[in-house]
Symmetry: C2
Subunit: 436 residues, 2 copies
Amino acid sequence: MHSNCEVEKLVNSDEVSIEKESINRSVIEYAVKDLLLGLGEDINREGIRKTPFRVAKAFFEGTRGALFPEAGLDNTNKIGHGGGVGGLVFVRDIDLYSYCESCLLPFQIKCHVGYIPSNQRVVGLSKLPRVAEAFAKRLQEPQHLADEICFALHEGIQPEGVAIILQCTHIPFPYKDFDSNHEGWVNILVSSGSGVFENKNDDIWSDLFSLVKFRGIEKGKVVIKESLDDQCYNWCPSFKVEEIKYSPIMVNAVSTIIKSIGEDPTRKELIETPNRFLKWLMNFQYASNIDLKMNGSIFNGEVKSIIWSEFNVPFWSQCEHHLLPFYGVVHIGYYNSEGCNPIGKSLLQSIVHFYGFKLQVQERLTKQIAETISSLVGGNVIVVVEASHTCMISRGIEKFGSNTATIAVLGHFSTDLAARTKFLESIPSVTSFEGQ
Amino acid sequence: MHSNCEVEKLVNSDEVSIEKESINRSVIEYAVKDLLLGLGEDINREGIRKTPFRVAKAFFEGTRGALFPEAGLDNTNKIGHGGGVGGLVFVRDIDLYSYCESCLLPFQIKCHVGYIPSNQRVVGLSKLPRVAEAFAKRLQEPQHLADEICFALHEGIQPEGVAIILQCTHIPFPYKDFDSNHEGWVNILVSSGSGVFENKNDDIWSDLFSLVKFRGIEKGKVVIKESLDDQCYNWCPSFKVEEIKYSPIMVNAVSTIIKSIGEDPTRKELIETPNRFLKWLMNFQYASNIDLKMNGSIFNGEVKSIIWSEFNVPFWSQCEHHLLPFYGVVHIGYYNSEGCNPIGKSLLQSIVHFYGFKLQVQERLTKQIAETISSLVGGNVIVVVEASHTCMISRGIEKFGSNTATIAVLGHFSTDLAARTKFLESIPSVTSFEGQ
């Protein structure tokens, strides 16, 4: 039983001295200031004044697994409890997130862990997600993560075999001329096996796949890394975005962050990471060059009871508190003047993109969209933004399913409950901003 | 900004001295030993030898909110970030769990938090779940929890108003003559409002309900505590189970646990809690008195290619590692002898109940069910158990969606992949063990 305790200590404890962590944190804070300056931001404005502190904290919380290079289960004693037996044990749907080593953005993982106990011994079920989490909390790549979890559990449990299946989802890279919808989410399915699961064509894998088939997982869909050349395998969408020359100060700032969280920025997979991170970040430069042409007619007529509406306009943005993506959909309702046509979808989309591609907070985004549309249609506007925030999952808080709605109402909508309710209740109940 | 930091400290820090915690923990460990002895268990058997340690740890992790009676947001400075504005901010689907003050079992919560900022200031979104969580991590009752979250956020953010909606789900209390299915989950919907949300009939609530309607939440369904007498409001299913006289040693052991986690066992709502917890626990006494009559015929024929199967047989059990419930469904497949009828559903159910109502681990439960059925049908059996473990959510690990499948195969099924696959793939893909 002794080793059980050691695992807990290893996975839970914080072995880095407070002092060293605080030095590394302030190094990251300086690097983040360079990035904010590079984005054209005023680093003293209230909304982002504490952002360097928050980003450093988030990186430390999100990648603390990297600080335990040997993390895993102790293999000097077999751990587990008598009384268990034989057959397959399969823990499904463990929600994890990790950080993409190619671009530093968080990615989400549904992790499925199976093992076959040997020696009549089974391990406490919660050890499986705990070990998986320790390896997820570092800069990762899906296949490598699967292999590491598999190896650590095999060493620690000494079972007949371990099988890992990971469904990984990476947010797409938007770019300024990117068109409209949230296509481009990258989903990849990888697996890793040890012992009796070592041969992926073995019958024993079939039982696993039978038990996750209704989760959309089929054997044929699993990526076999060896069968692909390296270029093909690069799952991170940053590879598909064109290279730009970024300022050495900014590149250096990102390298510094990588180093401060305990990673080696000269490791092969990480050499280009600063550039790739900047491909993402520089979309949110303060002086956005999206061309916002607003040629809608100015409203001067009478309020009519027809509500024009546009639902599910997608957007991307970057949370100014944590420099992490948030994304979702915008629902827009307005009264238009008599005889006028509704505002074209592409204009609404441009307005949404214009205010999205900045360092933002959702509340301000909602208000800015509402005010801009108000200037086109004469003041009677309702805007609802529904968004998922990666800062809600990729830090201590880890609320995977949560999402945030914000509302701005102007003119008639602020006083007319019936109109507001009519609009709110007509929002399609399944909004499609979850990716996949 | 200063107060922001203090909130983090308050919510995250561990103000109880290590020494005091360790004394309280060992007090709980002794109390748990009394409970195990009362259940007729051998406290030195390997599976439960460390259970007192684990239960003490789980109680501390799960109720540490109780240690911060003043938890909340600092209200001496308005916190938040400039740039936000006006309209409603509504964070939905925050997964929480809490401990029922009536029976000490964990219950699950979908928490929805709305507020309307004042003074152009918005609070960081992750503060909302963080504060909600601080109040959930103690012995609670839904309406009281909603009121506490509401009050703390109102004091801390000083907004126009705060609105809380909680969907709470309590597992049913099984009892020995309880019949078959998982009916009896208790769902309750409560709300709390401050400022502009104080009057629950006000128009402003309508916007909120419009935005959660498609989650099955309607204004009419919200419990208004004041309008019910106390007896009606007791949502915990323990109230519906008959009182039995329990041994004073066991009652005292539960009181001691309540005291050790920082609660007052003489508080009105807690006086009967030890008895109600024992109503649950004593279902899992070692010498179960469920009558297991097995009158199936002994198999002596030839293996036929007809697989008889019974899917979704519900069960309840108690995890012997943490003394927390796990529950789910059992799928059973077997070859029966020629000419024989399949085993009756009620006999299968009795077998499942017999092995469920004990301190168990899922792996052993699976094997015991398989072996018992094997003795009836001659050895060719496959059993799959799918279960949710409350110990996976109500401790540090908090993997809300995860569930565990275990398989035991005997005889023909262990060698015939085709038969196994045929059975596994015929398991209904939506198994109904999630409650609600």
